[in-house]
């Protein structure tokens, strides 16, 4: 089959969706399909630019090259007309949905922006409702779709890891591992603050580069102020191989994003390494995969609650590792593998 994957791009920036589009293309190629990735530039400000880009997508011809199937991933690329158009929805424009009226909407709530909001919602409803098949990347996104657009998704396709084979089980050592870009939304500062309340001799290991120098320095200052230098370790950016090794030897993983759309790769990396995950009740998508006391611990978003969860996990390692073994079964249960995704998208 000739398959065009349609995505959006902000030039000079690469995000998770682009890596996923690349992975999808690679996997489809491995199956003998011919694949093209088409990226439409996207700029979301001023608000009127949203309408321009939506109209542009309606006018573009993805028929170029005569594909048999088009798989669209993000707003507004899924507006591009094509008969056999399937949508694997990674991203709507959240600002006009559940973020509307909050500081994260990025635009004021006035008659002008309300019209733009409604135009986006209407266009989404029409384009997503008319897709041959519509899948989301999380239950959260499916719920939003139902609530705001009145559309039932055909299913959830959780994005798998690109190199799942890297992750494996190994003997656990006394540390908790939190690999992720360092930023306020991922809340590494809360993880560090939790270490203030910890009595037992385990470590917190943070891997990842700081999105801003400011946040990186803030984290280091926090460690310094509370005298946690021997308890909290910063690895900085590490390779996938190194990450897999650190993950394989931890007692449990920590993942604390605020209100994420999807479950986050960290969760999956931990699961594949037979590790349970400590997360917060307001972390969003992660809670779709993590069942409290089964394959992880979901606690209130406070340093104290996290410290207590870590202490519990440390005090009873057998139980913690048992949850890890349980976690290793979760990806298969939810169909998080390329085989399932490719079968579904090319069916």
């Amino acid at each position: 089959m000739k398959i065009s994957i349609v995505n959006v791009q902000a030039p000079f920036i690469r995000g998770g969706a682009e890596y996923l589009a690349d992975s999808l293309a690679t996997k489809l190629l491995e199956r003998g399909h011919r694949v093209a990735i088409v990226k439409i530039p996207f700029k979301w400000y001023p608000e009127e630019a949203l309408l321009d880009h939506m109209l542009a997508c309606r006018l573009l011809r993805i028929r170029s090259g005569d594909p048999d199937l088009v798989i669209a991933l993000k707003f507004p690329a899924y507006l591009i007309p094509f008969k056999n158009r399937k949508v694997w929805l990674l991203h709507q424009f959240r600002q006009v949905y559940e973020l509307w009226g909050t500081p994260w909407a990025g635009m004021p709530d006035d008659p002008r922006t309300r019209r733009i909001r409604d135009m986006i919602r209407n266009a989404d409803t029409a384009a997503l409702g008319s897709a041959k098949k519509l899948y989301t990347n999380s239950k959260m996104v499916a719920d939003r779709l139902k609530r705001f657009n009145g559309i039932d998704a055909d299913g959830i396709l959780y994005p798998p890891l690109d190199r799942a084979e890297l992750f494996h089980k190994a003997e656990a050592k006394p540390y908790f591992f939190y690999p992720s870009r360092l930023n306020t939304v991922k809340r590494q500062h809360v993880a560090i603050e939790a270490m203030r309340f910890v009595k037992s001799p385990f470590q917190l290991v943070l891997a990842g580069k700081a999105d801003s120098d400011e946040y990186g320095e803030q984290l280091r200052a926090l460690v310094e102020t509370h005298g946690l230098a021997d308890r909290v370790r910063f690895l900085g950016w590490i390779s996938e191989e190194e990450k897999a090794r650190w993950m394989s030897e931890c007692l449990a993983a920590v993942y604390l994003p605020y209100d994420e759309d999807s479950y986050g790769y960290v969760t999956l990396e931990a699961f594949l390494s037979h590790k349970c995950v400590l997360t917060f009740s307001d972390s969003g998508g992660t809670n779709e995969l993590i069942a409290h006391e089964r394959n992880g611990l979901i606690v209130e978003p406070t340093p104290e609650a996290l410290a207590e969860a870590m202490e519990r996990a440390y005090a009873n390692p057998a139980r913690t590792l048992e949850m890890g073994d349980e976690a290793a079964k979760t990806p298969a249960e939810l169909g998080i593998d390329w085989q399932h995704i490719l079968d579904t998208l090319t069916a």
């Binding site: 000739k2 065009s4 791009q9 902000a10 030039p11 000079f12 920036i13 011919r34 093209a36 088409v38 990226k39 439409i40 530039p41 700029k43 630019a49 321009d52 880009h53 109209l55 542009a56 997508c57 309606r58 006018l59 573009l60 011809r61 993805i62 028929r63 170029s64 090259g65 005569d66 594909p67």
Partner: protein, 350 residues
């Protein structure tokens, strides 16, 4: 300086005008220039180009996620419809059926009121959007002339597309017993004419044809032709070869053929031969290669007939020292026309 390269392409088509984009992007990165590429799909049906042009017009590439983009370089039509205050075009061709191919058997647009209306729309939008460019470069003099003739625009300069850096072609003084023709095997490249010329060449001269066919059976057809003419024992088909192998075969040849019909630009084969210090034989109706190949200097330009072509091949074969001198001039042609990336980037970024 943050530079965005924009062009259009047809997905699934190999070399659908994306090589020049990839090469340019790579050269910029190699020089530490912060650059990225926007490649938009284009469906070339004449009656659907207008709305796609409008789509490009609507896309905002003046900034990305709050970061300013300092320069937009547009390549294939109609990517120059994108808006940017510092836009430069490296123009490689119009939508030809609305221009030089209009009214010829090569064009597909109907010559009636509807066809004329669409043609006029294309002319109008090209006229407007190209005039927004701070500078316009073309990839050949043919294209520059066409731009002058149809759009009334004078190109600032011709920037001939160089080979990608790290290419394996090196000047060579050795010379074997064969003429080399590496190219996609397709009618417009006229490999059949090269074979038809063989009966008119000395018995010791061989022809090596490299490349694969666009359609299945095209090599077999050529083989049948060579058999009929009794020259099969002197014609070798290598099939697909690596760039390294191509460079080896180029280094050992007497001279190189490039027999395309009416092309806009000189074709990379010509340039590969020049880098290898080999003369190029091309035809009077080949188009772009005529800008750089001069008869009797760095190659031969001959009539598109088996006899004339056979004669040119024989002359190269008969006088190796002359062929070598022509090869040396061929190598100097690269410098003469400033076919190098430093020159290209200096212009596109100035």
């Amino acid at each position: 300086m943050r530079v965005l390269i924009a062009s259009t392409f047809v997905p699934f088509i190999e070399g659908g005008g994306t090589k020049i984009v990839d090469d340019l992007h790579r050269e910029m990165k190699a020089r530490g220039i912060d650059s990225d590429v926007v490649l938009l799909p284009l469906y070339s049906a004449w009656d659907e180009i207008a709305e796609q042009t409008l789509a490009f017009r609507l896309l905002d590439v003046t900034e990305s996620a709050g970061n300013r983009i300092d320069r937009l370089i547009t390549i294939r039509y109609p990517s120059y419809a994108l808006r940017h205050p510092s836009k430069v075009a490296w123009f490689i061709h119009h939508h030809r059926e609305a221009y030089d191919l209009w009214g010829t058997k090569w064009g597909g647009m109907p010559e009636n009121a509807v066809g004329r209306h669409y043609r006029n729309m294309m002319h109008r939008s090209d006229d407007i959007y190209l005039r927004e460019c701070q500078r316009i470069y073309t990839n050949s003099a043919v294209v520059a002339d066409r731009l002058q003739k149809f759009s009334g625009l004078t190109a600032d300069r011709v920037l001939y597309p160089p080979l990608a850096s790290g290419h394996p072609f090196r000047p060579s003084r050795e010379s074997g017993d064969y003429i080399f023709y590496p190219s996609r095997i397709t009618r417009i490249k006229r490999q059949d004419l090269a074979i038809r010329a063989m009966p008119h060449t000395p018995h010791k001269l061989r022809l090596v044809i490299a490349g694969t066919g666009d359609v299945e059976g095209s090599v077999d057809e050529l083989r049948v032709l060579a058999t009929e003419l009794g020259v099969l024992d002197r014609v070798e088909f290598t099939g697909w070869i690596s760039e390294e192998r191509k460079a080896e075969l180029m280094a050992g040849c007497v001279g190189c053929l490039y027999l395309a019909f009416d092309e806009d630009s000189y074709g990379y084969v010509t340039l590969e031969a020049f880098h290898s210090a080999k003369p190029v034989i091309t035809l009077t109706d080949s188009g772009g290669s005529l800008e750089v190949v001069r008869d009797g200097k760095n190659g031969f330009v001959c009539e598109p007939t088996p006899v004339a072509l056979g004669d040119a091949m024989s002359r190269l074969w008969a006088r190796p020292s002359v062929a070598r001198t022509m090869g040396e001039r061929a190598h100097k042609t690269i410098e003469e026309f400033r076919i190098d990336w430093d020159h290209v980037l200096e212009n596109l970024l100035s």
